[in-house]
Protein backbone atom coordinates (compact mmCIF):
# COMPACT_ATOMS: atom_id res chain seq x y z
CA UNK A 1 0.00 0.00 0.00
CA UNK A 2 2.85 2.37 0.79
CA UNK A 3 3.97 2.01 -2.82
CA UNK A 4 0.70 3.41 -4.12
CA UNK A 5 0.63 6.06 -1.41
CA UNK A 6 4.07 7.18 -2.47
CA UNK A 7 3.05 7.35 -6.12
CA UNK A 8 -0.03 9.40 -5.23
CA UNK A 9 1.96 11.87 -3.16
CA UNK A 10 4.50 12.08 -5.94
CA UNK A 11 1.73 12.96 -8.43
CA UNK A 12 0.47 15.78 -6.23
CA UNK A 13 3.96 17.21 -6.04
CA UNK A 14 4.36 17.06 -9.80
CA UNK A 15 1.08 18.91 -10.29
CA UNK A 16 2.08 21.57 -7.79
CA UNK A 17 5.47 21.91 -9.46
CA UNK A 18 4.01 22.27 -12.93
CA UNK A 19 1.41 24.80 -11.83
CA UNK A 20 3.97 27.01 -10.06
CA UNK A 21 6.36 26.71 -12.99
CA UNK A 22 3.76 27.58 -15.63
CA UNK A 23 2.46 30.44 -13.54
CA UNK A 24 6.00 31.73 -13.14
CA UNK A 25 6.74 31.46 -16.85
CA UNK A 26 3.54 33.33 -17.66
CA UNK A 27 4.55 35.99 -15.19
CA UNK A 28 8.06 36.42 -16.54
CA UNK A 29 7.00 36.66 -20.15
CA UNK A 30 7.33 40.07 -21.77
CA UNK A 31 3.97 41.58 -22.58
CA UNK A 32 0.52 40.30 -21.78
CA UNK A 33 -3.13 40.61 -22.76
CA UNK A 34 -3.02 44.33 -21.89
CA UNK A 35 -0.11 45.16 -24.17
CA UNK A 36 -2.40 44.70 -27.13
CA UNK A 37 -5.09 46.85 -25.46
CA UNK A 38 -2.60 49.61 -24.74
CA UNK A 39 -1.69 49.71 -28.38
CA UNK A 40 -5.36 50.17 -29.23
CA UNK A 41 -5.92 53.91 -29.80
CA UNK A 42 -9.56 53.62 -28.70
CA UNK A 43 -8.56 52.63 -25.13
CA UNK A 44 -7.25 55.22 -22.70
CA UNK A 45 -4.24 54.19 -20.60
CA UNK A 46 -6.33 54.86 -17.47
CA UNK A 47 -9.02 52.45 -18.56
CA UNK A 48 -6.47 49.74 -19.18
CA UNK A 49 -4.88 50.37 -15.81
CA UNK A 50 -8.28 50.13 -14.15
CA UNK A 51 -8.87 46.82 -15.84
CA UNK A 52 -5.50 45.60 -14.60
CA UNK A 53 -6.40 46.66 -11.06
CA UNK A 54 -9.71 44.87 -11.19
CA UNK A 55 -8.07 41.70 -12.47
CA UNK A 56 -5.58 41.85 -9.61
CA UNK A 57 -2.59 42.11 -11.92
CA UNK A 58 -0.75 44.37 -9.50
CA UNK A 59 -0.83 41.95 -6.58
CA UNK A 60 2.32 40.08 -5.56
CA UNK A 61 3.18 36.82 -7.28
CA UNK A 62 2.33 34.50 -4.35
CA UNK A 63 -0.98 36.32 -3.84
CA UNK A 64 -1.93 35.91 -7.49
CA UNK A 65 -0.88 32.29 -7.50
CA UNK A 66 -2.92 31.76 -4.35
CA UNK A 67 -6.00 33.38 -5.91
CA UNK A 68 -5.59 31.26 -9.00
CA UNK A 69 -5.10 28.04 -7.02
CA UNK A 70 -8.23 28.70 -4.94
CA UNK A 71 -10.22 29.48 -8.07
CA UNK A 72 -8.88 26.33 -9.75
CA UNK A 73 -9.94 24.18 -6.84
CA UNK A 74 -13.45 25.59 -7.32
CA UNK A 75 -13.28 24.53 -10.94
CA UNK A 76 -13.07 28.08 -12.33
CA UNK A 77 -9.36 28.13 -13.23
CA UNK A 78 -9.20 31.88 -12.99
CA UNK A 79 -10.70 34.42 -15.37
CA UNK A 80 -10.45 34.60 -19.12
CA UNK A 81 -9.70 38.14 -20.20
CA UNK A 82 -10.35 37.52 -23.86
CA UNK A 83 -13.71 35.80 -23.32
CA UNK A 84 -14.51 37.92 -20.28
CA UNK A 85 -15.76 34.95 -18.27
CA UNK A 86 -14.46 32.39 -15.76
CA UNK A 87 -12.33 29.85 -17.61
CA UNK A 88 -13.98 26.73 -16.15
CA UNK A 89 -17.44 26.96 -17.75
CA UNK A 90 -15.72 27.80 -21.05
CA UNK A 91 -13.73 24.60 -20.88
CA UNK A 92 -16.18 21.92 -19.83
CA UNK A 93 -18.23 21.44 -23.05
CA UNK A 94 -15.05 21.53 -25.12
CA UNK A 95 -13.38 19.10 -22.76
CA UNK A 96 -16.26 16.71 -23.39
CA UNK A 97 -15.95 17.07 -27.16
CA UNK A 98 -12.19 16.41 -27.07
CA UNK A 99 -12.56 13.41 -24.78
CA UNK A 100 -15.29 11.92 -26.97
CA UNK A 101 -13.00 12.18 -29.98
CA UNK A 102 -9.77 10.99 -28.40
CA UNK A 103 -11.10 8.21 -26.21
CA UNK A 104 -12.93 6.66 -29.16
CA UNK A 105 -9.81 6.92 -31.34
CA UNK A 106 -7.49 5.62 -28.59
CA UNK A 107 -9.77 2.67 -27.93
CA UNK A 108 -9.94 1.76 -31.62
CA UNK A 109 -6.20 2.18 -32.07
CA UNK A 110 -5.41 -0.12 -29.12
CA UNK A 111 -7.95 -2.70 -30.25
CA UNK A 112 -6.22 -2.86 -33.61
CA UNK A 113 -2.63 -2.43 -32.42
CA UNK A 114 -2.44 -5.31 -29.95
CA UNK A 115 -3.43 -8.10 -32.34
CA UNK A 116 -1.45 -6.49 -35.14
CA UNK A 117 1.69 -6.18 -33.00
CA UNK A 118 1.36 -9.74 -31.69
CA UNK A 119 0.84 -11.05 -35.20
CA UNK A 120 3.85 -9.16 -36.51
CA UNK A 121 6.04 -10.37 -33.66
CA UNK A 122 5.00 -13.96 -34.33
CA UNK A 123 6.00 -13.62 -37.99
CA UNK A 124 9.48 -12.37 -37.23
CA UNK A 125 11.57 -12.42 -40.37
CA UNK A 126 8.72 -13.14 -42.74
CA UNK A 127 6.66 -10.44 -44.43
CA UNK A 128 4.29 -8.89 -41.96
CA UNK A 129 3.52 -5.47 -43.35
CA UNK A 130 6.16 -3.76 -41.24
CA UNK A 131 7.03 -1.52 -44.15
CA UNK A 132 3.40 -0.42 -44.39
CA UNK A 133 3.38 0.50 -40.71
CA UNK A 134 6.65 2.40 -40.97
CA UNK A 135 5.22 4.30 -43.90
CA UNK A 136 2.08 5.09 -41.93
CA UNK A 137 4.27 6.22 -39.04
CA UNK A 138 5.93 8.76 -41.30
CA UNK A 139 2.63 10.40 -42.25
CA UNK A 140 1.92 13.17 -39.78
CA UNK A 141 -1.57 13.60 -38.32
CA UNK A 142 -1.60 16.95 -40.02
CA UNK A 143 -1.38 15.45 -43.49
CA UNK A 144 -3.85 12.69 -42.64
CA UNK A 145 -6.30 15.34 -41.53
CA UNK A 146 -5.81 17.38 -44.67
CA UNK A 147 -6.24 14.21 -46.72
CA UNK A 148 -9.44 13.42 -44.89
CA UNK A 149 -10.73 16.89 -45.71
CA UNK A 150 -10.07 16.25 -49.38
CA UNK A 151 -11.91 12.97 -49.06
CA UNK A 152 -14.85 14.66 -47.39
CA UNK A 153 -15.06 17.31 -50.12
CA UNK A 154 -14.63 14.91 -53.00
CA UNK A 155 -16.96 12.17 -51.79
CA UNK A 156 -19.54 14.34 -50.10
CA UNK A 157 -20.22 11.40 -47.78
CA UNK A 158 -18.99 13.08 -44.63
CA UNK A 159 -19.84 16.44 -43.12
CA UNK A 160 -17.09 19.06 -43.24
CA UNK A 161 -16.10 20.19 -39.75
CA UNK A 162 -18.03 20.64 -36.54
CA UNK A 163 -19.55 18.06 -34.23
CA UNK A 164 -23.25 18.40 -35.05
CA UNK A 165 -25.38 19.54 -37.98
CA UNK A 166 -27.65 22.53 -37.96
CA UNK A 167 -31.00 21.79 -36.38
CA UNK A 168 -29.39 19.27 -34.00
CA UNK A 169 -31.61 20.37 -31.12
CA UNK A 170 -34.79 19.43 -33.01
CA UNK A 171 -33.62 15.91 -33.93
CA UNK A 172 -34.78 12.77 -32.21
CA UNK A 173 -32.20 11.27 -29.88
CA UNK A 174 -31.46 8.42 -32.29
CA UNK A 175 -30.90 10.92 -35.08
CA UNK A 176 -28.73 12.98 -32.74
CA UNK A 177 -26.49 9.98 -32.04
CA UNK A 178 -26.30 9.22 -35.76
CA UNK A 179 -25.43 12.81 -36.52
CA UNK A 180 -22.59 12.96 -33.99
CA UNK A 181 -21.27 9.63 -35.23
CA UNK A 182 -21.26 10.89 -38.80
CA UNK A 183 -19.29 13.96 -37.73
CA UNK A 184 -16.93 11.84 -35.69
CA UNK A 185 -16.11 9.31 -38.38
CA UNK A 186 -13.34 11.22 -40.14
CA UNK A 187 -11.55 12.85 -37.20
CA UNK A 188 -11.66 9.59 -35.25
CA UNK A 189 -10.24 7.64 -38.19
CA UNK A 190 -7.46 10.18 -38.69
CA UNK A 191 -6.51 10.12 -35.01
CA UNK A 192 -6.70 6.34 -34.76
CA UNK A 193 -4.61 5.89 -37.90
CA UNK A 194 -2.08 8.29 -36.46
CA UNK A 195 -1.85 6.35 -33.19
CA UNK A 196 -1.96 2.87 -34.65
CA UNK A 197 1.58 2.56 -36.05
CA UNK A 198 3.17 3.93 -32.88
CA UNK A 199 1.24 1.53 -30.69
CA UNK A 200 1.69 -1.47 -32.97
CA UNK A 201 5.43 -0.89 -33.14
CA UNK A 202 5.66 -0.83 -29.36
CA UNK A 203 3.53 -3.94 -29.00
CA UNK A 204 5.70 -5.70 -31.55
CA UNK A 205 8.96 -4.59 -29.90
CA UNK A 206 7.78 -5.64 -26.44
CA UNK A 207 6.60 -9.00 -27.76
CA UNK A 208 9.85 -9.65 -29.61
CA UNK A 209 11.84 -8.85 -26.51
CA UNK A 210 9.75 -11.21 -24.40
CA UNK A 211 9.93 -13.90 -27.08
CA UNK A 212 13.71 -13.71 -26.98
CA UNK A 213 13.77 -14.24 -23.23
CA UNK A 214 14.99 -17.69 -22.11
CA UNK A 215 11.66 -18.53 -20.50
CA UNK A 216 9.94 -18.32 -23.88
CA UNK A 217 12.41 -20.80 -25.35
CA UNK A 218 11.87 -23.00 -22.34
CA UNK A 219 8.08 -22.83 -22.79
CA UNK A 220 8.56 -23.81 -26.42
CA UNK A 221 10.78 -26.69 -25.36
CA UNK A 222 7.97 -27.74 -23.02
CA UNK A 223 5.65 -28.05 -26.00
CA UNK A 224 3.30 -25.16 -25.18
CA UNK A 225 1.30 -24.66 -28.43
CA UNK A 226 2.21 -21.55 -30.43
CA UNK A 227 -1.01 -19.57 -29.97
CA UNK A 228 -1.14 -20.22 -26.24
CA UNK A 229 2.56 -19.46 -25.94
CA UNK A 230 2.03 -16.05 -27.52
CA UNK A 231 -1.12 -15.03 -25.72
CA UNK A 232 -0.83 -16.64 -22.30
CA UNK A 233 2.92 -16.74 -21.72
CA UNK A 234 4.68 -14.09 -23.78
CA UNK A 235 2.05 -11.33 -23.85
CA UNK A 236 1.70 -11.09 -20.04
CA UNK A 237 5.49 -10.92 -19.77
CA UNK A 238 5.57 -8.17 -22.38
CA UNK A 239 3.02 -6.11 -20.45
CA UNK A 240 5.46 -3.92 -18.57
CA UNK A 241 6.33 -1.45 -21.36
CA UNK A 242 2.81 -1.69 -22.79
CA UNK A 243 1.21 -0.65 -19.55
CA UNK A 244 3.47 2.37 -19.36
CA UNK A 245 2.47 3.17 -22.93
CA UNK A 246 -1.20 2.76 -22.06
CA UNK A 247 -0.70 5.23 -19.23
CA UNK A 248 0.77 7.66 -21.72
CA UNK A 249 -2.18 7.02 -24.04
CA UNK A 250 -4.57 7.96 -21.26
CA UNK A 251 -2.45 10.92 -20.37
CA UNK A 252 -2.46 12.38 -23.86
CA UNK A 253 -6.23 12.13 -24.30
CA UNK A 254 -6.46 15.92 -24.06
CA UNK A 255 -3.39 16.86 -26.06
CA UNK A 256 -3.22 14.24 -28.82
CA UNK A 257 -5.93 15.75 -30.97
CA UNK A 258 -4.96 19.43 -31.05
CA UNK A 259 -3.88 19.54 -34.67
CA UNK A 260 -6.67 17.31 -35.91
CA UNK A 261 -9.26 19.42 -34.10
CA UNK A 262 -7.87 22.62 -35.57
CA UNK A 263 -7.69 21.28 -39.12
CA UNK A 264 -11.02 19.47 -39.07
CA UNK A 265 -12.93 22.08 -37.10
CA UNK A 266 -13.81 19.89 -34.13
CA UNK A 267 -15.11 22.09 -31.31
CA UNK A 268 -12.71 20.73 -28.70
CA UNK A 269 -10.01 22.22 -26.54
CA UNK A 270 -7.57 22.60 -29.43
CA UNK A 271 -9.17 25.50 -31.32
CA UNK A 272 -9.99 27.24 -28.02
CA UNK A 273 -6.41 26.89 -26.91
CA UNK A 274 -5.04 28.21 -30.16
CA UNK A 275 -7.36 31.19 -29.99
CA UNK A 276 -6.27 31.88 -26.43
CA UNK A 277 -2.62 31.63 -27.42
CA UNK A 278 -2.99 34.17 -30.19
CA UNK A 279 -4.97 36.49 -27.90
CA UNK A 280 -2.38 35.95 -25.11
CA UNK A 281 -5.20 34.96 -22.79
CA UNK A 282 -3.10 33.29 -20.11
CA UNK A 283 -6.06 32.26 -18.02
CA UNK A 284 -7.23 29.81 -20.69
CA UNK A 285 -3.69 28.76 -21.68
CA UNK A 286 -2.79 27.99 -18.09
CA UNK A 287 -6.01 26.09 -17.48
CA UNK A 288 -5.57 23.87 -20.54
CA UNK A 289 -1.93 23.18 -19.71
CA UNK A 290 -2.91 22.30 -16.15
CA UNK A 291 -5.78 20.08 -17.28
CA UNK A 292 -3.66 18.08 -19.65
CA UNK A 293 -0.82 17.83 -17.14
CA UNK A 294 -3.30 16.53 -14.62
CA UNK A 295 -4.43 13.93 -17.11
CA UNK A 296 -0.85 12.91 -17.89
CA UNK A 297 -0.11 12.52 -14.20
CA UNK A 298 -3.33 10.59 -13.82
CA UNK A 299 -2.35 8.34 -16.73
CA UNK A 300 0.98 7.62 -15.08
CA UNK A 301 -0.78 6.84 -11.84
CA UNK A 302 -3.13 4.42 -13.60
CA UNK A 303 -0.13 2.78 -15.25
CA UNK A 304 1.56 2.41 -11.87
CA UNK A 305 -1.58 0.83 -10.45
CA UNK A 306 -1.88 -1.59 -13.38
CA UNK A 307 1.80 -2.50 -13.17
CA UNK A 308 1.35 -3.18 -9.51
CA UNK A 309 -1.46 -5.56 -10.41
CA UNK A 310 0.33 -7.17 -13.35
CA UNK A 311 3.88 -7.66 -12.12
CA UNK A 312 4.43 -9.77 -9.00
CA UNK A 313 8.01 -8.53 -8.77
CA UNK A 314 6.82 -4.96 -8.12
CA UNK A 315 4.32 -6.16 -5.54
CA UNK A 316 7.16 -7.88 -3.72
CA UNK A 317 9.20 -4.68 -3.32
Amino acid sequence: MSYLGRRLLHSVFILLGVSVLSFLFADLAPGDFYSALRADPRMSPQAVEAMRQRAGANKSFPARYGDWAVSSLHGDFGYSLAFNAPVGPLLWPRLGATLLLTSTATLLAWLAAVPLGVWQASRRNRWSGRAVLTFLLAIPDLLLALGALVLAVESGLFPLGGMVSRGFAEMSSAAQVRDVLRHMALPVSVLALGMLPVLARHVRAAMVEAMDAPFALSARANGIPQARLLLRHVLPAAMHPLIALFGLSLGTLLSASLLVEVVMGWPGLGPLFLEAVTARDFGVVLAVVMLSTTLLVFGNLVADLLLYRADPRIRAK
Partner: protein, 320 residues
Amino acid sequence: MKLGLAFLIAIHAAVFLAPWLAPYDYAEQHRDFAFAPPSRIHIFDERGSVHRPFVYGVVQDLGSGSYREQRGAAYPIRIFAGGSLVGVDSPGALFLLGSDGFGRDVFSRLLYGARISLLTGLIAAMLSAGIGLLLGTLAGYFRGWVDQSLMRGGELMMALPWLYLLLAVRALLPLHVSTLRTFVLMIVIIGGIGWVRPARLIRAVVLSARESDFVLAARGFGASHFYLLRRHILPFTTGVVVTQATVLIPQYILAEVSLSFLGLGVGEPVPSWGNMLSEGMQYHAMVSHPWLLVPGFATVAILLAYLKVGDALTERTVTY
Protein backbone atom coordinates in the same frame (compact mmCIF):
# COMPACT_ATOMS: atom_id res chain seq x y z
CA MET B 1 19.61 2.33 -44.09
CA LYS B 2 22.14 3.24 -46.81
CA LEU B 3 19.36 4.38 -49.12
CA GLY B 4 17.79 6.49 -46.38
CA LEU B 5 21.12 8.04 -45.49
CA ALA B 6 21.94 8.83 -49.11
CA PHE B 7 18.50 10.41 -49.56
CA LEU B 8 18.93 12.54 -46.46
CA ILE B 9 22.37 13.72 -47.52
CA ALA B 10 21.08 14.60 -51.00
CA ILE B 11 18.14 16.55 -49.57
CA HIS B 12 20.26 18.47 -47.12
CA ALA B 13 22.73 19.31 -49.87
CA ALA B 14 19.87 20.52 -52.09
CA VAL B 15 18.55 22.66 -49.26
CA PHE B 16 21.98 24.11 -48.60
CA LEU B 17 22.21 25.03 -52.26
CA ALA B 18 18.66 26.46 -52.37
CA PRO B 19 19.68 29.93 -53.61
CA TRP B 20 21.33 28.33 -56.63
CA LEU B 21 18.83 25.57 -57.27
CA ALA B 22 15.61 27.53 -56.85
CA PRO B 23 14.38 29.26 -60.01
CA TYR B 24 12.92 32.17 -58.01
CA ASP B 25 13.29 33.90 -54.70
CA TYR B 26 10.87 32.57 -52.06
CA ALA B 27 9.11 35.95 -51.86
CA GLU B 28 8.93 36.73 -55.58
CA GLN B 29 5.29 37.14 -56.57
CA HIS B 30 3.83 36.64 -60.03
CA ARG B 31 0.49 38.38 -59.65
CA ASP B 32 -0.85 37.01 -62.93
CA PHE B 33 -0.14 33.43 -61.99
CA ALA B 34 -2.00 32.77 -58.75
CA PHE B 35 -2.54 29.04 -58.16
CA ALA B 36 -0.89 28.13 -61.45
CA PRO B 37 -0.53 24.37 -61.87
CA PRO B 38 2.89 22.75 -62.29
CA SER B 39 4.39 23.79 -65.64
CA ARG B 40 4.37 21.09 -68.28
CA ILE B 41 7.76 20.61 -69.81
CA HIS B 42 7.72 19.87 -73.53
CA ILE B 43 10.29 18.66 -75.97
CA PHE B 44 7.97 18.39 -79.00
CA ASP B 45 6.30 21.46 -80.51
CA GLU B 46 2.90 21.47 -82.24
CA ARG B 47 4.44 20.29 -85.45
CA GLY B 48 6.08 17.38 -83.73
CA SER B 49 9.69 18.45 -84.08
CA VAL B 50 12.09 18.02 -81.21
CA HIS B 51 13.52 20.93 -79.21
CA ARG B 52 15.50 21.30 -76.03
CA PRO B 53 13.01 21.28 -73.10
CA PHE B 54 10.73 24.30 -73.06
CA VAL B 55 7.48 25.51 -71.48
CA TYR B 56 4.62 27.37 -73.00
CA GLY B 57 3.27 30.54 -71.57
CA VAL B 58 -0.02 30.12 -69.68
CA VAL B 59 -3.06 32.33 -69.27
CA GLN B 60 -5.76 32.13 -66.65
CA ASP B 61 -9.33 31.70 -67.77
CA LEU B 62 -11.07 34.35 -65.68
CA GLY B 63 -14.37 32.49 -65.50
CA SER B 64 -13.22 29.14 -64.20
CA GLY B 65 -9.87 30.24 -62.80
CA SER B 66 -8.14 27.39 -64.60
CA TYR B 67 -5.04 27.83 -66.71
CA ARG B 68 -4.40 26.84 -70.32
CA GLU B 69 -1.24 26.83 -72.38
CA GLN B 70 -0.62 29.37 -75.09
CA ARG B 71 0.88 27.37 -77.88
CA GLY B 72 2.31 30.49 -79.51
CA ALA B 73 4.77 31.49 -76.81
CA ALA B 74 7.49 28.94 -76.07
CA TYR B 75 10.18 29.62 -73.45
CA PRO B 76 13.18 27.30 -73.51
CA ILE B 77 14.47 26.18 -70.13
CA ARG B 78 17.87 27.74 -69.52
CA ILE B 79 20.59 26.27 -67.41
CA PHE B 80 22.45 28.69 -65.13
CA ALA B 81 20.43 31.63 -66.32
CA GLY B 82 20.07 34.50 -63.86
CA GLY B 83 22.16 32.85 -61.15
CA SER B 84 20.05 29.76 -60.64
CA LEU B 85 20.32 26.26 -62.01
CA VAL B 86 17.17 26.36 -64.16
CA GLY B 87 14.86 29.12 -65.29
CA VAL B 88 12.98 30.62 -68.22
CA ASP B 89 12.98 34.14 -69.59
CA SER B 90 10.27 36.60 -68.56
CA PRO B 91 7.37 36.87 -69.19
CA GLY B 92 7.29 33.06 -69.21
CA ALA B 93 7.29 31.35 -65.81
CA LEU B 94 8.62 27.99 -64.67
CA PHE B 95 6.59 26.54 -61.82
CA LEU B 96 7.94 23.02 -61.37
CA LEU B 97 5.46 22.37 -58.57
CA GLY B 98 2.91 25.03 -59.36
CA SER B 99 2.39 28.36 -57.62
CA ASP B 100 0.52 29.54 -54.53
CA GLY B 101 -2.16 32.19 -54.11
CA PHE B 102 0.35 35.03 -54.49
CA GLY B 103 1.80 33.44 -57.60
CA ARG B 104 4.94 32.39 -55.76
CA ASP B 105 6.83 29.35 -57.02
CA VAL B 106 6.06 26.38 -54.76
CA PHE B 107 9.26 24.54 -55.75
CA SER B 108 11.45 27.48 -54.74
CA ARG B 109 9.54 27.95 -51.52
CA LEU B 110 9.81 24.24 -50.80
CA LEU B 111 13.60 24.44 -51.02
CA TYR B 112 13.84 27.60 -48.92
CA GLY B 113 11.21 26.33 -46.51
CA ALA B 114 13.22 23.18 -45.94
CA ARG B 115 15.99 25.35 -44.53
CA ILE B 116 13.75 26.37 -41.67
CA SER B 117 12.00 23.03 -41.17
CA LEU B 118 14.98 20.69 -41.53
CA LEU B 119 17.50 22.90 -39.78
CA THR B 120 15.17 23.38 -36.84
CA GLY B 121 14.95 19.62 -36.50
CA LEU B 122 18.67 19.12 -36.87
CA ILE B 123 19.85 21.86 -34.53
CA ALA B 124 17.13 21.32 -31.93
CA ALA B 125 17.92 17.59 -31.85
CA MET B 126 21.59 18.37 -31.35
CA LEU B 127 20.62 20.75 -28.57
CA SER B 128 18.49 18.09 -26.88
CA ALA B 129 21.16 15.45 -27.26
CA GLY B 130 23.78 17.89 -25.96
CA ILE B 131 21.75 18.80 -22.88
CA GLY B 132 20.94 15.12 -22.42
CA LEU B 133 24.60 14.19 -22.67
CA LEU B 134 25.65 16.80 -20.15
CA LEU B 135 22.90 16.15 -17.59
CA GLY B 136 22.82 12.38 -18.11
CA THR B 137 26.57 12.14 -17.62
CA LEU B 138 26.49 14.31 -14.51
CA ALA B 139 23.60 12.34 -13.05
CA GLY B 140 25.03 8.94 -13.87
CA TYR B 141 28.58 9.68 -12.85
CA PHE B 142 28.12 11.66 -9.67
CA ARG B 143 24.92 9.98 -8.46
CA GLY B 144 23.59 11.29 -5.13
CA TRP B 145 21.69 14.56 -5.00
CA VAL B 146 22.79 15.60 -8.49
CA ASP B 147 21.21 12.46 -9.88
CA GLN B 148 18.11 12.77 -7.71
CA SER B 149 17.38 16.38 -8.61
CA LEU B 150 18.11 15.95 -12.33
CA MET B 151 15.92 12.88 -12.62
CA ARG B 152 13.08 14.47 -10.62
CA GLY B 153 13.33 17.50 -12.90
CA GLY B 154 13.18 15.12 -15.86
CA GLU B 155 10.02 13.52 -14.51
CA LEU B 156 8.47 16.96 -14.25
CA MET B 157 9.39 17.64 -17.88
CA MET B 158 7.92 14.29 -18.94
CA ALA B 159 4.67 15.16 -17.18
CA LEU B 160 4.10 18.11 -19.48
CA PRO B 161 1.87 17.93 -22.54
CA TRP B 162 4.56 18.90 -24.99
CA LEU B 163 2.54 20.34 -27.88
CA TYR B 164 0.47 22.48 -25.53
CA LEU B 165 3.62 23.46 -23.77
CA LEU B 166 5.30 24.35 -27.02
CA LEU B 167 2.40 26.58 -27.94
CA ALA B 168 2.11 28.01 -24.46
CA VAL B 169 5.79 28.92 -24.28
CA ARG B 170 5.59 30.35 -27.77
CA ALA B 171 2.51 32.30 -26.73
CA LEU B 172 4.31 33.85 -23.81
CA LEU B 173 6.85 35.36 -26.15
CA PRO B 174 6.16 38.21 -28.54
CA LEU B 175 4.31 37.06 -31.64
CA HIS B 176 5.88 39.32 -34.20
CA VAL B 177 9.63 39.19 -34.11
CA SER B 178 12.26 38.82 -36.78
CA THR B 179 12.60 35.55 -38.65
CA LEU B 180 16.00 34.82 -37.20
CA ARG B 181 14.82 35.37 -33.63
CA THR B 182 11.75 33.20 -34.18
CA PHE B 183 13.97 30.52 -35.67
CA VAL B 184 16.36 30.56 -32.70
CA LEU B 185 13.44 30.74 -30.31
CA MET B 186 11.77 27.68 -31.85
CA ILE B 187 15.02 25.72 -31.69
CA VAL B 188 15.53 26.62 -28.05
CA ILE B 189 11.94 25.79 -27.13
CA ILE B 190 11.72 22.53 -29.07
CA GLY B 191 15.23 21.39 -28.16
CA GLY B 192 14.88 22.43 -24.55
CA ILE B 193 11.81 20.28 -23.99
CA GLY B 194 13.02 16.94 -25.36
CA TRP B 195 16.27 16.33 -23.47
CA VAL B 196 14.77 14.01 -20.86
CA ARG B 197 14.74 10.80 -22.84
CA PRO B 198 18.31 11.06 -24.14
CA ALA B 199 19.43 12.13 -20.66
CA ARG B 200 17.88 9.03 -19.12
CA LEU B 201 19.38 6.67 -21.66
CA ILE B 202 22.80 8.30 -21.40
CA ARG B 203 22.59 8.17 -17.63
CA ALA B 204 21.95 4.42 -17.82
CA VAL B 205 24.98 3.93 -20.08
CA VAL B 206 27.20 6.07 -17.85
CA LEU B 207 25.93 4.28 -14.77
CA SER B 208 26.75 0.84 -16.13
CA ALA B 209 30.16 1.94 -17.44
CA ARG B 210 30.93 3.58 -14.12
CA GLU B 211 30.10 0.38 -12.24
CA SER B 212 32.14 -1.75 -14.61
CA ASP B 213 35.21 -3.62 -13.49
CA PHE B 214 37.48 -1.82 -15.90
CA VAL B 215 36.62 1.51 -14.30
CA LEU B 216 37.24 -0.07 -10.90
CA ALA B 217 40.62 -1.27 -12.14
CA ALA B 218 41.53 2.19 -13.46
CA ARG B 219 40.54 3.70 -10.13
CA GLY B 220 42.93 1.23 -8.57
CA PHE B 221 45.73 2.92 -10.50
CA GLY B 222 44.67 6.31 -9.18
CA ALA B 223 42.73 7.60 -12.20
CA SER B 224 41.08 11.02 -11.94
CA HIS B 225 37.39 11.72 -12.64
CA PHE B 226 38.38 13.52 -15.80
CA TYR B 227 40.45 10.57 -17.03
CA LEU B 228 37.69 8.06 -16.28
CA LEU B 229 35.06 10.13 -18.06
CA ARG B 230 37.21 10.83 -21.07
CA ARG B 231 38.73 7.40 -21.62
CA HIS B 232 36.29 4.90 -20.15
CA ILE B 233 32.81 6.41 -19.93
CA LEU B 234 32.05 9.00 -22.59
CA PRO B 235 33.16 6.79 -25.51
CA PHE B 236 30.33 4.42 -24.62
CA THR B 237 27.70 7.15 -24.91
CA THR B 238 28.35 8.06 -28.55
CA GLY B 239 26.07 5.31 -29.86
CA VAL B 240 23.15 6.44 -27.71
CA VAL B 241 23.74 10.11 -28.48
CA VAL B 242 23.78 9.60 -32.24
CA THR B 243 20.80 7.24 -32.18
CA GLN B 244 18.76 9.53 -29.97
CA ALA B 245 19.54 12.55 -32.11
CA THR B 246 18.43 10.62 -35.19
CA VAL B 247 15.21 9.60 -33.48
CA LEU B 248 14.55 13.15 -32.30
CA ILE B 249 15.18 14.95 -35.60
CA PRO B 250 11.98 13.75 -37.34
CA GLN B 251 9.93 14.49 -34.22
CA TYR B 252 11.34 17.98 -34.13
CA ILE B 253 10.81 18.58 -37.83
CA LEU B 254 7.21 17.63 -37.25
CA ALA B 255 7.05 19.97 -34.25
CA GLU B 256 8.33 22.85 -36.37
CA VAL B 257 5.88 22.02 -39.16
CA SER B 258 3.00 21.90 -36.68
CA LEU B 259 4.03 25.11 -35.00
CA SER B 260 4.32 27.02 -38.27
CA PHE B 261 1.13 25.42 -39.53
CA LEU B 262 -0.66 26.91 -36.54
CA GLY B 263 0.84 30.30 -37.36
CA LEU B 264 3.27 30.35 -34.46
CA GLY B 265 6.46 29.73 -36.39
CA VAL B 266 8.31 31.96 -38.78
CA GLY B 267 6.06 34.57 -40.36
CA GLU B 268 5.25 35.39 -43.97
CA PRO B 269 6.76 35.76 -46.47
CA VAL B 270 9.52 33.45 -45.16
CA PRO B 271 8.40 29.92 -46.03
CA SER B 272 8.45 26.85 -43.81
CA TRP B 273 6.80 23.59 -44.74
CA GLY B 274 4.27 24.22 -41.99
CA ASN B 275 3.08 27.66 -43.05
CA MET B 276 3.05 26.53 -46.71
CA LEU B 277 0.64 23.76 -45.74
CA SER B 278 -1.58 26.08 -43.76
CA GLU B 279 -2.13 28.04 -46.94
CA GLY B 280 -3.47 24.88 -48.52
CA MET B 281 -5.99 24.59 -45.73
CA GLN B 282 -7.04 28.20 -45.59
CA TYR B 283 -8.68 28.18 -48.96
CA HIS B 284 -9.91 24.65 -48.87
CA ALA B 285 -7.77 24.72 -51.94
CA MET B 286 -6.40 21.22 -51.79
CA VAL B 287 -9.01 19.80 -54.08
CA SER B 288 -8.50 22.28 -56.88
CA HIS B 289 -4.81 22.97 -56.17
CA PRO B 290 -3.41 19.69 -54.85
CA TRP B 291 0.20 20.81 -55.43
CA LEU B 292 -0.15 22.96 -52.31
CA LEU B 293 0.12 19.70 -50.36
CA VAL B 294 3.62 19.05 -51.69
CA PRO B 295 5.33 20.21 -48.45
CA GLY B 296 3.27 17.54 -46.67
CA PHE B 297 4.57 14.81 -48.95
CA ALA B 298 8.08 16.17 -48.60
CA THR B 299 7.68 15.87 -44.85
CA VAL B 300 6.57 12.25 -45.22
CA ALA B 301 9.63 11.42 -47.36
CA ILE B 302 12.03 13.07 -44.91
CA LEU B 303 10.40 11.44 -41.88
CA LEU B 304 10.47 8.05 -43.58
CA ALA B 305 14.18 8.38 -44.33
CA TYR B 306 14.96 9.45 -40.76
CA LEU B 307 12.81 6.62 -39.36
CA LYS B 308 14.65 4.04 -41.46
CA VAL B 309 18.05 5.36 -40.42
CA GLY B 310 16.93 5.66 -36.79
CA ASP B 311 15.57 2.09 -36.76
CA ALA B 312 18.78 0.72 -38.21
CA LEU B 313 20.87 2.64 -35.68
CA THR B 314 18.68 1.55 -32.78
CA GLU B 315 18.96 -2.09 -33.77
CA ARG B 316 22.70 -1.75 -34.08
CA THR B 317 23.04 -0.13 -30.67
CA VAL B 318 20.97 -2.84 -29.04
CA THR B 319 22.93 -5.71 -30.52
CA TYR B 320 26.28 -4.16 -29.60
